[in-house]
Subunit: 136 residues, 2 copies
Amino acid sequence: MKTYTISEVAKELNLTVYTLRYYDKEGLMPFVERTPSGNRLFKESDLSALKVIECLKATGMPIKEIKNFIDWCSEGDATLQQRYDMFLERKANVEAQMEELRKTMEVIEHKCLYYKTALEAGTEEIYKKDIIEINN
Amino acid sequence: MKTYTISEVAKELNLTVYTLRYYDKEGLMPFVERTPSGNRLFKESDLSALKVIECLKATGMPIKEIKNFIDWCSEGDATLQQRYDMFLERKANVEAQMEELRKTMEVIEHKCLYYKTALEAGTEEIYKKDIIEINN
DNA sequence: GCTTGACCTAGAGTTAACTATAAGCCTTAA
DNA sequence: TTAAGGCTTATAGTTAACTCTAGGTCAAGC
């Protein structure tokens, strides 16, 4: 069975070895085994789990909450409902973030137009008396 | 002309007065005037500018870079191109964030399904030998 | 056998973005 | 005229998520 060293995993997941050790210290990787001399030995399934952790991080979840999830995973079937609820909550959260980004994008695009027009005119003075722009 | 105190602005923009003073200290609000006794006095146009600042923050722009933009604004027409370029860059950045969120959402939705199925079965053992899940 | 390089831990340092405190100044209502 | 409430500054503290350093172990190649 193929295994990986910490620096291979770091490369693969675009993280640093510092970050991986930090995650371990925070209890995010209780599943990673060691060689007889104490080096971390990552399995394929550990890589998968780390990808899920990265995904949860991408939703904006703080590490302490990710740790709760990992703990639930270790507890087995008894925590299936909590974990399901957590992912539903994450889903709602990501939807809200997307909506916020869409609104942000609207303003940014408006500004792009604003500056495009100003650049063509050579000045933004044209907007200074423009009530519409003032409300943006 | 209607003006606002710092706490009115904080309420309006869902920020704290601490945050507003911090922004001021960081040079994000050189336009805000003062009363004779030294209190900040916000105009409508200051609120608009703060909303643009909030928008830039929502794109993930660090405060120091927002300060650069504010400085450019003070320098007038000579910096129109820089400001335009900056907004184009922000736009690309937000698009990338949206794409990343979409990918994240796919994984989260997959996980929601996973747990829904596991809950219905009462166990996640059904997945333990499932090669497909291991690669997620 | 000894050097090199990758790994280990514990713990200190960094950074961004707040968040709070202390001490003090105006204005206003009792 | 004095007490309260909202403002001011300077500065210290907090938090999350790293990021780095020091000092050490271990396995492989010369």
